[in-house]
Symmetry: C2
DNA sequence: GAGTGGTCTAGACCACTCA
DNA sequence: GAGTGGTCTAGACCACTCC
């Protein structure tokens, strides 16, 4: 069998796992590895780059490649649309718009978006249900300066997320996850008691430097966010 | 300037963002793009693979490459050692071992690790402090069948996480994040009231198919987990 | 200055999947 | 069967960084 970058990558991962290459140790250079595996240097390079990306090794020009002392691993989470998330779990998806109004944003919101207090923002709140029970409360602010056409959108039909996906591209995003206590409103809508823990995801998106939207997605504490590596 | 895969990738991302390539549309094949950008096909391929990995496009042999309809984006979170996390934020790190004993694991634990009730597990609890205040409560179970040398480890000196990083390699891991209500013990140790929301990260690691450890890391609700894309 | 990784090219063959 | 992406090679030059 011809040497594949996967096979080479996995073999090197094995050597690291089994301490044949100890933490902190310098491993052979690309050319030497290429000779050993009977592959082109580019192939070995690809394998090494994947290991570096996953945090197993650290590479520096001239200095060479070392096994990481503290494998600062990264976890990757897939962020699907709520609807897909619910349907993938076998639930029946339903959606309910609560309200959508242009209104002055609280300071926490316009500061977070780096906008002035005078900026025009559309506030949309809606509920995503799985098999009839509340799955996620969505509380969203849309920057009308960046997406004026949102004024004509019918969020009773399409959820703001799906509408924005189709109508408002973004180039950058920031996700934040945290735990919080449900306020009275959240508790009522999610069938919880006030003060119950909730799992919150926040996302801000930008088109280049222009903020598009800030959304706070609140789940009951039974929610799990899982990633396998 | 010579065409770089970064420049090509960014240009294609721009076209997608600006709807020059509409969602769902078929984009040109690699050869045609290579001609257009004046680059080798391998270079264009690398750019396209990165876009596919980030969820912007979907590629299928024979069918070609399409702009994703629902950009199922992925968020990447770096998972450092607590100590590094605290020090990176400018805090002074301190560590306190609470207890470490071999004891029968509750069903939730041994089932989660796919072990029998008779399996020998070391239960370690410890606290990670930032500038003197509780930052994370670590509650860990170590599979002594897989890591017998943990019996001799001095967790008063080195935290179990750092000890395991050095002494027990793993090949697979699963992360779970969730919100929960602090129980009485957690509340006391983290300076919270019972029932207060906490942010919990759980991690299971395996060496091939053998479970190594299950750890539950509990933070006060002020904790944030952030990822930029 | 020199050594190592980073990237690019041109060409080739392969593998999957659609029709 | 045929078209498209997936991967590999051999060679080259570049860029960073250590000495």
């Amino acid at each position: 069998m011809r040497a594949s970058f996967r096979a080479i990558r996995d073999e090197m991962a094995r050597r690291i796992a089994e301490r044949a290459w100890a933490p902190g140790a310098l491993i052979p250079g690309e050319e030497e590895l290429a000779r050993e595996f009977g592959a082109a240097r580019a192939t070995v390079n690809r394998a090494l780059q994947e290991l570096a990306r996953s945090g197993l090794i650290e590479r520096k020009r001239k200095a060479g490649t070392r096994v990481a002392l503290h494998p600062v691993r990264e976890a990757r989470f897939v962020i699907p649309l709520v609807r897909q998330e619910i349907e993938a779990k076998g639930g029946e998806y339903r959606y309910r718009l609560l309200d959508a109004e242009e209104e002055p944003a609280p300071e926490a919101v316009h500061k977070r978006l780096n906008l002035t207090a005078a900026a025009s923002l559309l506030h949309v709140r809606c509920l995503h249900l799985s098999d009839g029970s509340a799955y996620q409360l969505e509380d969203r602010w849309i920057n009308m300066g960046a997406v004026p056409s949102a004024r004509e959108a019918d969020f009773g039909e399409t959820s703001p997320n799906e509408w924005l996906v189709r109508n408002s591209p973004f180039t950058d995003a920031e996700f934040t996850f945290l735990a919080a206590a449900a306020n009275r409103q959240e508790a009522a809508l999610l069938d919880l008691r006030e003060g119950d823990p909730v799992f919150v995801g926040e996302r801000i998106t930008w088109l280049h430097d222009r903020p598009i939207t800030l959304v706070r997605m609140t789940h009951p504490a039974s929610h799990r966010m899982i990633s396998r590596m």
